[in-house]
């Protein structure tokens, strides 16, 4: 049986690595920090031979998708993000769907967490320019 660790190239697909990382986070939360670290390292190591372990935003998301993910990180609704970017809410939803598929994220929240942790979104954007912040 072929598992995700037995890919012929020795390199995991982006989506598989995301799954491993997610599993590692769950281990971490369950208190299994050492196992979590090893699993993170395993997922990361798969990227070392053929390229950088951490993909760049440009290599994964389109510029429009990255703009939309960034807008969502600022706390607005999809409709608010759309108005700000001059695109329809439907386009926002479509771009988020594509970005989730590309990163292996299971939700918009997860997508934003991945994007910030990878440095695709500068954190000060989320901090300094929130959309629809409560008074």
């Amino acid at each position: 049986m072929t598992g995700i660790l037995d890919t012929p190239t020795g390199r995991l697909a982006e989506r598989d690595r995301a799954v491993l990382h997610r599993a590692a986070v769950l281990l971490h939360t369950a208190g299994e920090t050492s196992a979590a670290r090893r699993l993170h390292a395993l997922a990361d190591a798969q990227g070392n031979d053929n390229g950088p372990a951490v993909p760049t935003a440009r290599g994964v998301l389109s510029p429009a998708e990255l703009r939309t993910v960034t807008a969502m990180a600022r706390g607005g609704t999809r409709a608010q993000a759309g108005r700000r970017l001059h695109i329809t809410e439907g386009t926002v939803a479509k771009q988020l769907q594509h970005a989730r598929a590309k990163t292996g994220a299971s939700s918009t929240v997860h997508l934003v967490a991945i994007s910030i942790a990878r440095g695709w979104i500068p954190v000060d954007v989320a901090l300094l320019h929130p959309i629809g912040r409560r008074p």
Binding site: A18, L26, H28, A43, P52, S107, A117, V123, G132, R134
Partner: protein, 86 residues
């Protein structure tokens, strides 16, 4: 000089319970899954996340996670989407 005064805001924080819930939220778990994993009720999780959102000034779960990461309240390296040591 009121117009140059800066407001001292306390450093944002999460309680231990909120931290666990936010971290699972960031990992892509839904509320029901978070409740199940932490052995708490759906309602409790909802309340904890709402309280965390209030404290951090977040409007929704997505912004709560963004702000928690930005403030370093949940470990960014735990997701290891960043390369280690570089």
């Amino acid at each position: 000089m009121t117009d140059t005064e800066t407001t001292i805001t306390p450093a944002p924080h999460l309680t231990a319970a909120e931290h666990d819930a936010v971290q699972l939220l960031a990992a892509g778990c839904e509320m029901a899954e978070i409740a199940e994993r932490l052995g708490r009720s759906y309602h409790t999780i909802k309340t904890e996340l709402a309280r965390a959102m209030d404290r951090l000034g977040a409007r929704n779960g997505t912004q709560l996670v963004a702000l928690s990461l930005a403030h370093g309240l949940i470990p960014t390296d735990a997701y290891a989407y960043l390369g280690r040591d570089r």
